[in-house]
Symmetry: C2
Subunit: 430 residues, 2 copies
């Protein structure tokens, strides 16, 4: 564990203030922030006198990032940039984050710290099943795992057969994947002739998709391993923003690199510790593209108590979803994760599901499709009917909406090799 | 240019000897080489007294690498390994190369040197279109380009529409791709609404596939850029073994990192400078997986004269093909590259082609499929017939075989997003 992970809060806050000043210094060199900070009387780093002063600065949104494209948020000469990650769309204005060598080194250190925080060690064999390329999930932890001295197998995503072969050939002990890909791997084991005893797997680091505690437990049971939750977003580098330690009770936000705030999405005021709100982050160790009070659109809450691991960096709850993901169905706010939670708590139901929203006249219709074990498809359809009623009732309790539940045989629903597409909103756009 | 690139040959050879001794020292720690070197009386690094002593050591083959799987050629504790690259097959024994941090740093330095050697500079925007992951083409030059200070866009392969968008959005000046993907990009430009003026492209670094000088010229003309040839193979790290300088007359083999020999494939004796033979390489800067006299199966020749760039590292000819690629058609040795050369020299013919070999009774039949411009497909088929005869004649002259030539409309043949599959040998295996 690095010393900064257990530093007393008071010292941590001193470090944050010093780094916030540096960051404001970098931000003032960008067209976007020099204008925005100038408007509120901040023109020098020293104008930030305390961490409280951060609250004077307006939030930065994804739209701000887009409007500043391509160079409005770049604080250094383009010659000094050594990497960029851009959103992958083929149309529209992308968002882009630039890095100089310092930024990459800082990101690598955070990724390494995150991996080691789960108890992984130099001698572990780390198979990275996240996509390598512009998506930050692959390269992000790749650099960190190498720096932490693990043996990295840069498998990238997809090709399940090869993933299993690599795991067997090289005795993979730690994998990095999306939770849905882990479930997919589990569903393919039998068909690929893989038994748990063939694998040396001990840990999975999962991220890039919100998922429930039940999904974690399901993956842990299916592989007899420990599963650790990872959080990051490309605007904040990528993976390595927050990570679970061996206690698996929330993710430590690396507060020497990020100032965290949780705000009410309506009033935009800070919420109390323990209350849910939108996570807002300020970069503290980034020179090329500093971001001040960036609205992540991710909903979480701070754990009010201390973690037994001894780290002083505060923990956040797993994400119930992004504000982007939120569905409004007949006026009711529904997060897909709420539906997942209900489904995954029912042992009769498999690992794959899909949420479809359609327009039926003036009303919205929610259809939840799941797979169930083959043995339940008998001539007597009473069991099936009883099961779908039970699922519908449980969902009604959780989300206050009565869905149509469709049960399917295993293998019916599409499987994702990368990030799963769980939600199909088929309502016409207004 | 780093000092070692222009060091006098005498000093270079001293350096090679010192590093060869170190390498033999590492090799002696592996089960495979301790046995093999022991058999010829080499048990200590000092047993290598001169570069000539290298010739006492037997060649290492790809089969040796396979037979030593998984750890027979590993010279360091597994804990010290930070990366592996393995052949990607899902069946059979893979080949695997392990790297410690030292090895990765040396590879990165070679990749950086290779990129700078083409005249690329810190201020260049480098879009890496090679696949990221276990394939060494992507990560290899990625690390080098970052170290050289270029702005790296880790685009990875595929998604032509997005590649063009990135090129436009960020003013890409240098790309890294297979030659066939460059031709594919050119063929898609019009359909994607891209004009040359929209791009800031200056250079393409191409590798991973043997290709002819005519293909280079074609790509250079299509994009109005300079194209540089890159050579590497995963057993020798990956890209960065040999690279063209701005004079584009053969690829400098980085002889401070590799000892190069060219041998006759029958007698296994060294050939004279300028004569074609199989390239044999010995690693000089690799600790985890040293390889001594590795038979690359690639056919080339050394340029006998000095390069005007001032580098003292010798240059090799572009590859006419691998010994693996060689087709034996009715007893005649044919390299696909010979066919490509003929096709690409004929302006009526497009950028895509395919070579099919079939069994017709006892005889082999060679079919060459190419695409031609749309305007040639008129009601009058005489032009088509005349063109296919001309192609067949030219091929006959070059390869001593009379092929069947098929002409197709543009878009008929499959396009490769990665490494092109140009040859379909459909004869039954014996």
């Amino acid at each position: 564990m690095t010393a900064v992970e257990t530093v007393p809060r008071e010292e941590l806050e001193k470090l944050q203030l010093a780094r916030l000043r540096e960051t404001v210094g970098h931000a003032l060199k960008t067209p976007f922030y020099s204008r925005r900070l100038g408007g509120i009387g901040i023109s020098r780093p020293e104008d930030i006198e305390s961490l409280e002063d951060l609250k004077k600065i307006p939030y930065t949104s994804k739209d701000d990032l887009r409007s500043a494209f391509p160079y409005g948020m770049l604080s250094i000469p383009l010659d000094d940039v050594v990497r960029l990650h851009a959103s992958s769309g083929t149309t529209g204005t992308p968002t882009v984050i630039y890095h100089n060598q310092h930024d990459l080194d800082a990101w690598t250190a955070l990724s390494a710290r995150s991996i080691l925080c789960t108890g992984a060690q130099r001698r572990d064999v780390f198979q990275n099943m996240m996509t390598y390329g512009l998506f930050t999930g692959g390269l992000g932890l790749h650099y960190g795992a190498e720096a932490a001295g693990l043996l990295v197998i840069p498998a990238s995503s997809g090709n399940t057969k090869r993933q299993f072969k690599l795991m067997k050939d090289f005795g993979t002990t730690v994998v990095h994947a999306t939770p849905s890909y882990m479930l997919h791997l589990a569903s393919r084991m039998e068909a690929e002739g893989i038994r748990l005893e063939d694998l040396a797997l001990k840990k999975a680091l999962v991220g890039a998709e919100p998922h429930s505690e039940d999904i974690r437990r399901k993956i842990e049971e299916l592989f007899s391993i420990d599963v650790y939750n990872s959080y990051g977003l490309s605007e904040m580098n990528g993976p390595g923003v927050a990570f679970e330690c061996v206690f698996k009770q929330g993710m430590h936000v690396w507060e020497d690199n990020y100032i965290m705030e949780i705000i009410d999405r309506e009033s935009l005021d800070q919420v109390e510790d323990g209350e849910y709100g939108e996570l807002v982050l300020t970069t503290l160790c980034r020179q090329a593209t500093p971001l001040l009070r960036y609205r992540t659109r991710d909903i979480t809450a701070v754990y009010p108590d201390k973690c037994p691991c001894g780290r002083t960096h505060r923990r956040i709850q797993r994400f119930t979803g992004r504000t982007d993901d939120m569905l409004i169905i007949n006026g009711v706010n529904v997060f897909p994760s709420q539906i997942e939670e209900v489904i995954m708590a029912m042992p009769e139901i498999g690992t794959n599901y899909q949420i479809v929203v359609q327009k039926m006249g003036a009303l919205d219709k929610l259809i939840v499709k799941t797979e169930v074990g083959k043995n339940i498809f008998t001539d007597d359809t009473r069991d099936l009917k009883a099961l779908s009623s039970r699922i519908a009732e449980n969902l009604k309790v959780s989300i206050s909406i009565n869905p149509t539940v469709e049960l399917h045989e295993p293998g019916f629903l599409p499987v994702a090799e990368g990030k799963a597409v769980r939600v199909l909103d088929q309502r016409p756009r207004m």
